[in-house]
């Protein structure tokens, strides 16, 4: 039987507002523990939340980018549970009246677009950070003591929930990458996985291909890289298939993804059976976003990454187009004149390898460099590329040295090298074609790297094959 994976995601994104969601404490990564706190985010008696308007605007903007309907009236709810990282004993979140609902996100693919349904995107506050010391393997149970850092408590967080519309680990990874790029371009989050400003949970189930049933799903938590996501999902798909093919049943559970470990470790099932006793947050009035505000946010959206992939695909192949967009390099690509494929390759490969920030590169100058790529020595090209991020970079400073492409100039060098390497010439002619590289290397060395490798290759073959 062929099995079809059914995958949905929950993505948490930290908004990079200057202050927290319900108080005026600074947000930001890396401040000393508990230095960015106040009575409100420490939940002292008597405090009240005051919502961050910017966070509401940005959530609306994100909702629009995800094709969501923006609710005319959204309500904050309290989600009640006891845990040291939850100072009020409840988290202010949204429940049945979120800001953004019923969206659709276009995921371009080789075979066409896939619509990934968005159930909702809502705004909430983050919890503090627990650090469990001694024993317990990083969990509270079995730890000697637990320290709490409240800097993160109350940071604005958007939770995006997708429909189970994803069908493979690879597609899920591509979706998450495109979503991250979309969030970044909106200017609302750094979406840095290392810093925890983007985190995701993935729900996985499998079903016989062609069926439309939804079987028991498991949830993978704690994923903080795209590759881990793909690995974890793939492993879980295979595990579930093996269970069904062995006549077993998949058990609904939450799996704690640990990179490198064969199996994700199940979390305590008790944590799933929580009753959060949601109630409308009586300390806050409902949010009623004015229509003009929503329309303004819509007008500011610009061309979204998915649309740009589709547009660039008409002049490049899909992989290059997607790579450029999801890596945030397509802007430079579009600013750089010249042969599209040549420009795309340089921007995507050599420029990336050189570790340059694409936003700092002057496209016009880069265009001149790409255009001259075959006419100047590689060494000179790489040097120029390395300098292309400098403010005063001029391509023409590096174009002076031409490659030696003239056969009449190269032939004497090639002949000299062949004469000096009788044994290798004989071996080549006896069938060791791999020695061609050796001869090319010798010629390049002799010409100080300035010979045109294409011409050298052609002439070497001709001369070696001649006798």
């Amino acid at each position: 039987m062929t099995w079809e994976p059914v995958i949905g995601c929950e993505i948490h994104v930290h908004l990079k507002t200057q202050t927290k969601m319900f108080c005026r404490c600074a947000t930001g990564f890396g401040a000393p523990e508990n230095s960015s706190t106040c009575p409100v985010c420490l939940a002292h008696p008597g405090v009240l939340p005051v919502p961050n308007e910017r966070a509401i605007e940005w959530t609306i903007k994100l909702g629009l980018a995800l094709g969501c309907d923006i609710a005319p009236r959204a309500v904050f709810h309290r989600k009640n549970y006891f845990y040291p990282d939850n100072p009020k004993g409840y988290q202010i979140s949204q429940y049945d009246e979120p800001l953004c609902m019923s969206g659709s996100f276009l995921l371009p693919g080789v075979g066409g677009d896939t619509e990934i349904g968005i159930v909702r995107a809502h705004l909430e506050e983050d919890a503090a950070k627990n650090v469990h010391m001694g024993g317990g393997e990083g969990r509270i149970h079995g730890a000697d003591r637990t320290l709490v850092d409240f800097n993160r408590a109350g940071m604005p967080l958007v939770e995006i929930v997708t429909q189970p519309h994803l069908r493979s680990s690879e597609q899920t990874k591509r979706f998450l990458q495109l979503l991250r790029q979309t969030v970044r371009e909106l200017g609302i989050s750094d979406a840095e996985m290392q810093e925890g400003s983007m985190r995701f949970d993935v729900n996985v189930s499998v079903r016989p291909e062609g069926s439309d049933e939804l079987r028991t799903r498991t949830e993978l938590k704690n994923i903080n890289s795209f590759n881990f996501a793909a690995q974890g999902i793939e492993r879980e798909i295979q595990r579930q298939i093996a269970i069904y093919e062995g006549g077993g049943e998949v058990v609904q559970e939450t799996l704690h993804f640990v990179p490198g470990q064969e199996h994700a470790a199940p979390l305590r099932s008790k944590e799933e059976a929580q009753d959060y006793r949601y109630l409308p947050e009586p300390d806050l009035v409902p949010i009623e976003p004015p229509a003009e505000m929503v329309e303004q946010a819509r007008a500011e959206l610009g061309e979204l990454p998915s649309a740009r992939i589709r547009r660039l695909e008409t002049e490049l192949d899909f992989g290059l187009a997607e790579g450029l967009v999801t890596s945030g390099r397509d802007g430079l690509y579009e600013r750089t004149p010249g042969d599209r494929r040549a420009v795309a390759n340089v921007v995507m490969n050599e420029l990336a390898a050189a570790g340059l920030d694409p936003t700092e590169v002057n496209g016009e100058e880069l265009g001149k460099l790409v255009e001259a790529r075959d006419r100047i020595p590689r060494e000179a090209f790489m040097k120029a590329l390395g300098a292309s991020g400098d403010g005063d970079f001029k391509a023409e400073d590096y174009l002076g040295e031409a490659v030696i492409a003239d056969e009449s100039e190269l032939d004497p060098v090639i002949e000299r090298i062949l004469a000096a390497n009788d044994e290798n010439v004989a071996a080549y002619r006896a069938g060791k074609q791999g020695l061609l590289g050796f001869f090319v290397g010798q010629v390049m060395k002799e010409t100080g790297g300035k010979a045109d490798p294409k011409v050298v290759n052609t002439r070497l073959r001709e001369l070696l094959d001649r006798s």
């Binding site: 009575p39 420490l42 939940a43 002292h44 008696p45 008597g46 405090v47 009240l48 939340p49 005051v50 919502p51 309290r78 009640n80 006891f82 040291p84 100072p87 009020k88 004993g89 409840y90 509270i140 637990t146 709490v148 009753d275 006793r277 949601y278 109630l279 009586p282 300390d283 806050l284 009035v285």
Partner: protein, 468 residues
């Protein structure tokens, strides 16, 4: 010698502005009264030896946060807790020169109607120390009645200013929900909590309300007052339409002596020129109390979750996080908060929410509509504030339901977010009877006007005879 028993806030202030007395001398006079009478009454949980400001003293209910001054909400779980910030109402009082003289006793987390639920012992009624002062702001109302402060602030969730004001023979206002900031007030039931003045006269009440009311950026549920507070002067009720809701005046359990005083006050309204008529609030009175006892405990169960021993207050620290939560909360909370946390937790649980909390919210809308309809015909509705006069200590502590019924008349307008003023209107068995005046949202000026005119005509002596 200053007679703090009789001195109103307005008179006290006149002594200062007239240069007859310094602020320190006035403060010392009230401190002396506290030292003399509070050992018997237990109105204060904390008394300030000094306090900044150049004005007259004020007593603050211990649910109101005061920076650096112990604030416990009457609970052992907050024993020794020193707030790191001032409540907005505290700041506003200080900005007007008012000097905090102490923090008054209360039912734990404002849950109760007799101040017997305080973890630090009950307050006694200055009219008869064998009786309760009402609650939960019983410390504030008893302090004002006993001349231990010229005025005070209390808080009212389900009658906690109005009912003890009635039982202690003082004036108490529960303001329109959203006119007084809750920032810094230890939360009990957020959608109902309002801070209100406790005073000897209606004019003092109006003035203190003008000090604390108005939008606060720290409390997004507050609004600016649509019109400025007017200190009442008129001594008649001409043109005022006074409604007498039958169910609020004929409810089971209203003592005959209470009815008698209230009826006399209603008759007085007529004599002062008001147009008096009957009206009905059948559902508000029948469902107000049960509805309140779903909504308030639900919100309380959530609001009280932060007392977990992690960051402040009591921590009982056995092995393990769960045991720490359980034992801290078991030792820190008294029976009434525990009872309400359980009620609220149950009412919010999956599968019960719609039947309880959800349903109560719908009933609340019905109550709001019923009051709105009555208040289209009348400017003010009147009733007893409490069905009884002050009852003996211990009389209702074993029967929570009987205790809850003490607020059966005060709760319905609260559920509708409406303001209510309680003024003393007479005596029954030698104990004060309170008259409740209810108006539409933001109608405080009308309530003050009516209350003041009645007060002048009634000439009720606010000094308990045994202290005179």
């Amino acid at each position: 010698m200053i007679d703090t028993l009789r001195l109103t806030a307005k008179e006290a202030n006149a002594l200062l502005t007239g240069g007859e007395l310094s602020s320190d001398e006035l403060f010392a006079a009230y401190r002396a009264a506290i030292d003399e009478r509070d050992p018997d009454l237990n109105c204060f949980l904390h008394v300030c030896d000094e306090s900044p400001g150049a004005g007259i003293p004020i007593a603050l209910k211990d649910v109101i946060g005061t920076k650096g001054i112990p604030t416990t909400a009457g609970s052992k779980i907050l024993e020794g807790y020193l707030p790191v910030y001032d409540a907005t109402v505290t700041e506003r009082c200080q900005a007007r020169g008012l000097r905090t003289i102490g923090k008054t006793n209360m039912d734990e987390f404002a849950m109760g109607s007799s101040t017997e639920n305080s973890a630090f012992g009950p307050t006694r009624n200055p009219w008869d120390p064998s009786r309760v002062p009402g609650g939960s702001s019983g410390g504030s109302t008893a302090a004002v009645a006993a001349g231990l402060a010229p005025w005070a602030l209390g808080s009212d969730t389900g009658g906690s200013v109005k009912q003890p004001a009635a039982l202690c023979g003082v004036v108490g206002l529960r303001p329109t929900y959203g006119t007084v900031s809750r920032y810094g007030i230890i939360a009990f039931a957020s959608s109902l909590d309002q801070v209100g003045p406790v005073t000897k006269t209606v004019a003092d009440c109006a003035f203190l309300y003008s000090v604390i009311a108005g939008r606060d950026p720290c409390d997004t549920t507050t609004v600016d007052l649509p019109h400025p507070v007017e200190i009442p002067e008129a001594e008649d009720l001409r043109g005022l339409r006074v409604g007498v809701p039958r169910e609020l005046n004929e409810a089971e359990g209203i003592e005959p002596g209470v009815t008698e005083s209230v009826q006399a006050a209603i008759e007085l309204c007529r004599e002062l020129g008001a147009e008096v008529g009957e009206c009905e609030l059948p559902r508000s009175v029948e469902y107000g109390l049960p509805c309140y006892y779903l909504i308030a405990p639900s919100e309380a169960s959530s609001n009280l979750a932060r007392y977990d021993g992690v960051r402040f207050g009591l921590r009982v620290s056995p092995d393990g996080i769960r045991a720490m939560y359980e034992e801290t909360r078991d030792e820190g909370f008294g029976d009434e908060p525990k009872r309400r946390i359980m009620l609220g937790t149950y009412a919010l649980s999956a599968g019960y929410y719609e039947a309880y909390y959800g349903q109560a919210q719908k009933v609340r809308t019905v109550i709001r509509q019923e009051f709105a309809a009555a208040l289209e015909r009348f400017d003010v509705l009147v009733s007893p504030t409490s069905p009884t006069v002050a009852f003996p200590l211990g009389a209702k502590t074993e029967n929570p339901l009987a205790m809850y019924l003490s607020d059966v008349l005060a709760i319905p307008p609260n559920m509708a977010g409406l303001p209510g003023l309680s003024i003393p209107c007479g005596l029954s068995e030698g104990l004060p009877v309170g008259l409740q005046l209810i108006g539409p949202q933001f109608s405080e000026n009308v309530l003050f006007r009516a209350g003041h005119a009645l007060e002048q005509a009634l000439a009720f002596d606010v000094v308990p005879p045994r202290l005179a």
